[in-house]
Symmetry: D2
Subunit: 361 residues, 4 copies
């Protein structure tokens, strides 16, 4: 359990950081979708290490190979199996930590849970697993695009440098034009400088990714436990290094009065609409057709280029040295991962919603 996400549109991943390969299996993608492999590759490039000076300089080609589920360019309704070879398995890099528990990593907890662990690069706990998510999510995005749904994430905060304007006052299209993926060029500059200085300190820093989903039809989300935002929250919290999730008015909204917070319904032509959107496009756990937006908090990554005291498996005090090639800040590369997981959630609920009304069956 735990290696799959979704019910009808479902992604299963396998693979460790330094094993032979990662895999993604996508089930439930409706038959007849023209699949654009190049688009999947572009998403993989957005997540790839070594893409800029502020990301890890590890080299992974992240080439995908589709093994099944596509025939003459179209999905067939059968599972789409994808394999991503691990080309850069420098396993010896990790021998120095073979029996050590790196602080705030998953080394100790995997060891306690399973009694054995693949210590090379964190094994299954490595964020490398998210490459499989981006591949699977890219297929979900194409399915959603065919239905008019658009998902876009961007970096809204690094350390204490935060965007001040709300997303709808920004031109999100420019986010991909800078290496930190922030839609405000000025703030982007500052964020890059901050990450760079943290990197020179051999340290790391956290950040926030904001995501906006447009053109979702009303009616997505399954009461009462599988509320749309509950699944989005689980999806985001399942990404490495995530510490928090909020949607719509979020934590700030608790300070408001109901009379301020309530979103007034109005009619715009034939379309029902709300004047404000503190609800974040979700009411009672179900989409209402407005923009869905949420924020995801990422901690500073645990691997730092400094010596740290810790324990080994024998319970002895040891020093963990900072080696290897790691990200000083994870959020620029997290943007496509957030989008991938969001796409999986929306695709799944879109399929589920096709069974709600007798008149449509």
């Amino acid at each position: 359990m735990g290696n799959s996400f979704g019910r009808l549109f479902r992604l299963t991943t396998f693979g460790e950081s330094h094993g032979k390969a990662l895999g993604a299996i996508v089930e439930g993608c409706p038959a007849g979708l023209e699949l654009d492999e190049e688009q999947i590759r572009l998403e993989m490039q957005r997540r790839k290490p070594g893409q800029s000076k502020i990301t890890t300089q590890r080299k992974e080609e992240d080439e995908i190979e589709i093994l099944s589920g596509v025939f003459e360019g179209k999905t067939t309704g059968t599972p789409i199996g994808i394999v991503i070879q691990n080309s850069d398995q420098k396993s010896k890099d990790y021998s120095h930590i073979a029996d050590k528990f790196r602080p705030s990593h998953a080394d100790y907890t995997y060891f306690e849970k399973y009694g054995i662990r693949d210590y090379r690069g964190g094994g299954r706990s490595s964020a490398r697993e998210t490459a499989a998510r981006v591949a699977g999510g890219a297929i979900a995005k194409q399915f959603l695009a065919a239905k008019g749904v658009k998902i876009q994430a961007f970096v809204s905060q690094v350390g204490d440098l935060a965007l001040e304007k709300p997303y709808h006052e920004l031109n999100l299209d420019v986010a991909e034009e800078n290496i930190v993926r922030c839609p405000d060029p000025e703030t982007a500059e500052k964020m890059i400088a901050l990450i760079d200085s943290v990197r020179l300190d051999r340290d790391t820093i956290g950040g926030v990714v904001t995501c906006v989903i447009k053109n979702t039809p009303p009616g997505l989300g399954e009461p009462v436990f599988d509320r749309l935002h509950a699944e989005l929250g689980k999806a985001m919290l399942s990404i490495n290094a995530v510490k928090g999730f909020e949607y719509g008015s979020g934590f700030e909204g608790v300070k408001m009065r109901g009379s301020q917070h309530n979103d007034t319904f109005v009619k715009e032509g034939e379309k029902v609409h709300t004047l404000t959107n503190h609800s974040g496009g979700i009411q009672g756990g179900i989409s209402n057709g407005e923009d869905i937006y949420f924020r995801v908090a990422f901690k500073p990554v645990a691997t730092i280029m400094q010596d740290q005291e810790s324990l080994n498996e024998a319970g002895e005090t040891v020093t963990v040295s900072g080696k290897g090639r790691h990200d000083p800040c994870v959020v620029p590369r997290a943007v496509p991962i957030v989008e991938a997981m969001a796409a999986l959630v929306i695709a799944d609920f879109l399929l589920l919603s096709k069974t709600n009304k007798l008149s449509e069956i």
Copy 2:
């Protein structure tokens, strides 16, 4: 789909706000647990409306009746069926909103999703459904108590009135001694005054519930999608009016450097321990044995005692009048709901963890 939570330890609920009854079915509770019905009733009392001047004055007896799964006082391993009659069904209270979409409620989205809705008190979308969760969660709590795990939630913020001290500097035992369920008596007074003034304004206000789980064994949580905090997040976000979830260092943690944020492992006698706990007791999605703690943001409830403009099913502009008996602030009554959902998550993962190691099977 969406009416069940958990895999091995599983709660299913049914029932609408003004239907005949609510129901809770608990599956997977291990056989042989001495079930204390009185304890379940006490939990129900903590959630019950009308318990103090700052909660709704609706009267619901919330009497539980156990129909199955318990024999001679012990659980038998078969599903525990519980019914809670709806004693106070003042359906006529709702006739004035039969075809109106109340702002920031689920009226519009249910109508779009299903094409039909039980408008009485919000039907299935009402927070009344959480009574069934508290009943089910109370059984999970008893199972966990038998294994030494303790779960405690409390109110840490109302509007902009927030506790300043971290939870471990507070005496949580006193939280239940005041009607707002805040462990700092002085802040509690202020919170009560604030809620009372909001109530007199015929308005509502949001708040935050913090929850602490002690004595969880290491090893709970299922990589990679079913991380312990991802399931906790989903559980909390599935509660009515919740807008955000964060655990450990949460959103504040993004401002920290990795060198500050990392939790150093040390040995205390035979036990592995961390000097700090920014991880919130969870590393790589798996419990490490430290306290698990998290915060849950609740919006101001949407029902206010004021006239609001809205639409009806025909798309006409209408006035929604504030009537009925509602909570000016939901967090005091949300405390046992947060605990119930947390208990369900931990119970489920505890069972799942029994199958991880070959040597223990």
Copy 3:
């Protein structure tokens, strides 16, 4: 786990033979279905004990009460909770077997599995649980009827008395006109006489129920593990006392040559059709639009009115006396149970099939 059946159209049951009540929760029934409670009651009557001289003389009123999910006569898309009170709980009838393992019952296996068991009437293992299935299945049948699908089961064998004609040469409409539910009146007479003589011997006998499903659309069934007949098989094998399942040509078909067994496709007007139907309406695990038919084998029920040697919980040899009121042959009352489970399977796959093609989403 194990108390639910189905994914999208889903039945969960709870309750023991001599507990307070049984329950059925139906999830996923599309919203907007006019629910005919009387039809549900009629199905309950078909399964009810005491309905004729060849069934047990126990009295159970089997009155259903719908607690949720229906508003103004229509389903709302929320779970339909049903409770069936146990009116005839003669628990003292069972004190004589409290610590004894009845031969070929579930007493020993429940005790081994859970370490505790509700010995009254077999507790959860009693066929009384199937009352909840019939209630839930009756809703599935109404949903299917609204889509034109018709399900009909009948008794085709008792002991070695078997119908000789295939189902399509019989008038199935007369099956409900005799107490053994066999569509051939002459054979029905003989079956009734056989059951009666077995009853006088204080013994029991097995039988076979055949089920036919008409007007199923092509495309139902999910490759590769959730083939339509695999789910039908599981559904049937989950009914008490069932020992075998076969569909289409079944076990006899193994003797045929491929050239005889293959069903030739032909066109009849606009409809694709097969000349023969050894496939039983299912090819590659997916319905092809022809009649689906299958046979279900029921063993002689284990409770006989004779003394039997056995063991008790302490491992001592004891005598189990035949007491109580039991069925000499289970198949007449099994007919509506087979239909109920078949309806649940078809309803579930019908919903799932709505998500297969991009062009229909």
Copy 4:
């Protein structure tokens, strides 16, 4: 949905007959199992085409490559990803049937369900998919072997040639010594001759596989829907060409009286035992510790080396010619598939059973 089997011990497969590769993902195998890759390869050999004169002469190397989940020879608790390349993809063999519906194949039903199909060798509907099951099942078998459980299947019937003795009067160890996998050498000879004559007739014939599971602990199976035999039945019915399943006394048992059919409990040393085993090792859907045995009916395979009339996608009458290399009788190669599926079922229930009793958690 439909590509996975099992809850805790779970196999997911992907891949088409003539795609690039097949895949098997095994989740939930407990950590710390020494995995013998050679054993997996031996199982693959037992299923492989071209192994004898009575099987298809297609050549598939069926080499497995393990991509994840194993570290230094032991399972780590993370998913085990396996890929099997399709080496013998003679796709042009199938151009002549590209738009034709082969009789009693899945061509028509896949086309109806998905609106598109990979016609090469049946695509996903091909029995080639069972190679992935055998790989996954081989891991389940190793896990079970470590717990003392042994699973053995054999051919008990071909056409109307059936073994007369029950399994416990046969020496099952000799079954693998002949190419038809029948434990009675004399019957085996006749079966081989029969299959050979059918092959010369360019026809096919059906058969029965019997399976015996020894040393299963009592307590496996989850009431009420997930009875042990219900899952076994589903598992078997999910195998290509299966038309029926019966366990214990099966269809023959319906002719017995309860007084004959009941299995008397006795004590043998410390062990509870039954004198007969009409129950097939399962009572109330839960294993009782006796041998579990069941029979699986396979139809004559649909591909015959003869011309047949059929329809094409345009609804025109066409001739389907018998080409390619196919099995005249599927049961010899089905033996390891039946074992694989049985192993998956038992492994899953074994894990589930670890959570039944409070005293063992």
